[in-house]
């Protein structure tokens, strides 16, 4: 790992100023960034830690009834504090990695990274969520732009994430036991206005919505509604853990399981 300057500001505005210098990067939980630095995949001149900024931590329900989670809130805190507001999201957080990873890793870091197998992108997309940055609000549909790619500009910080709270929801993670990420994961969220289904870990373009399943489940929220569908293998990830056909099959099975388990 190359050396860098380490800064730990105590406000968002100070962090933004520090991030405006050439080759500066935010450091949140470091669970993705530190391994990447060790592999010299990144070589920032300056790391700006978000851990000393109180306004970047916390879980609450805002005036509009949306669950708002600040950008540097850890998975462990989300697992605890979101459980009464949004149990399916809390359960998702409590199954990320392992306890030590959950004590460090944060939702903002996970979303900024947009790993194609990460869990939160599915929750944000299925919950019609919004990414709040220091400059703007970004709808989940516009935020995720393919593997490891997001709408964030250079030096732009995720300050919070907002979720619409569904009437019932469930996340099914099919564990890839070596990485402890999702081999494929499906988040199903049922709202009065309809059902949203978001899939992670399967597509070469990252997280996406399964619109055919959404339409059928909005009509009849039952696993048998999906019997008529076959998921196409086009554009699905092929790696040593699973073929496109295997992932297509997982998508359908996990969606059914999520419908059965939704509460």
């Amino acid at each position: 790992m190359y050396d860098f300057e380490f800064e730990k500001p105590s406000s968002i505005s100070d962090a933004i100023t520090l991030l405006s210098s050439e080759e500066a990067m935010p450091l949140s939980g470091g669970q993705t960034l530190i391994p990447a630095l060790k592999q010299r995949l990144n070589a920032p001149s300056k790391l700006v830690s978000l851990a000393g900024i109180p306004e970047l931590r916390g879980v609450s329900v805002n005036e509009g009834g949306m669950l708002e989670i600040k950008g540097a809130t850890t998975h462990a805190v989300i697992a605890k504090q979101a459980s009464s507001h949004y149990p399916a999201l809390s359960a998702l957080a409590s199954h990320i990695g392992d306890p030590a990873v959950r004590n460090r890793g944060t939702i903002g870091g996970s979303l900024a990274n947009n790993d194609p197998a990460a869990c939160y992108p599915a929750a944000v997309l299925a919950s019609n969520g919004k990414i709040i940055s220091n400059k703007r609000e970004i709808n989940s549909e516009d935020f995720f732009q393919g593997m490891f790619t997001t709408a964030l500009d250079e030096g732009e910080l995720i300050t919070a994430v907002q979720f619409e709270i569904p009437t019932v929801a469930n996340y099914q993670k099919f564990l890839q036991p070596a990485s402890r990420f999702a081999l494929t994961g499906v988040f199903v969220a049922k709202f009065d206005s309809g059902v949203r289904v978001a899939i992670t870990g399967a597509s070469e373009n990252g997280v996406f919505r399964w619109s055919e399943a959404e339409a059928l489940l909005s009509d009849n929220f039952s696993p048998s509604s999906l019997d008529v569908l076959t998921f196409s293998t086009d554009g699905l990830i092929s790696d040593l853990h699973g073929t496109p056909a295997y992932r297509a099959s997982l998508i359908k099975t996990l969606t059914k399981r999520a419908v059965i388990a939704a509460k």
Binding site: Y2, I34, G97, D98, P99, A100, N103, R104
Partner: protein, 161 residues
């Protein structure tokens, strides 16, 4: 070079570090506490688990400067005041929960974090909590047994040997 001040096992530890100095490096090479092991150095194996302000974390995936001002507990601080093994360490010995011992510091630190959070875990809860701690020797059963025993529970119930 920047300076860090960390309270390690109730003793102040100070050192000059680089931005990139890991907490694991600080503990091992600057403070001289080599009980925190480096297995993978990629946050997979858990041999380096220590507690920072009471939370279990992987010391290979945190910078020393991030722990400035924090309280860190390592395996070296776990024994009782008179030097005898604490209840978890003793249970590891009694239940043959280690062979080569490489993973043991991390296992004990994870076990102590678990029992603080959940003083009477089920076997399944112990196994789930240890997801981030790999052992290449024991096959885990005796580790799970030791942790259940340390929590004061009957251990004969653990099925597989």
């Amino acid at each position: 070079m920047p300076k860090v001040n960390i309270t390690v096992n109730n003793n102040p530890a100070t050192g000059e570090v680089e931005g990139r100095t890991l907490l694991s490096t600080f503990l091992r090479d600057i403070v001289g506490l080599t009980g925190t092991h480096i297995g993978c150095d990629t946050s997979q194996c858990g041999a380096c688990v220590v507690h920072v302000n009471g939370d279990a974390i992987k010391a290979c995936t945190m910078f020393a400067l991030e722990a400035d001002g924090a309280t860190v507990d390592t395996i070296e601080g776990q024994a009782n005041a008179d030097g005898s093994l604490n209840v978890i360490q003793q249970a590891f010995q009694d239940h043959h929960a280690l062979q080569c011992g490489f993973c043991t510091p991390g296992m004990v630190m994870s076990a102590s974090a678990l029992l603080k959070e959940n003083p009477s875990p089920s076997e399944a809860e112990v196994r789930k909590y240890l997801e981030g701690n790999l052992c290449r020797c024991t096959g885990y059963h005796n580790i799970v047994k030791a942790i259940l025993a340390a929590s004061g529970q009957e251990v004969s119930a653990v099925a597989a040997e």
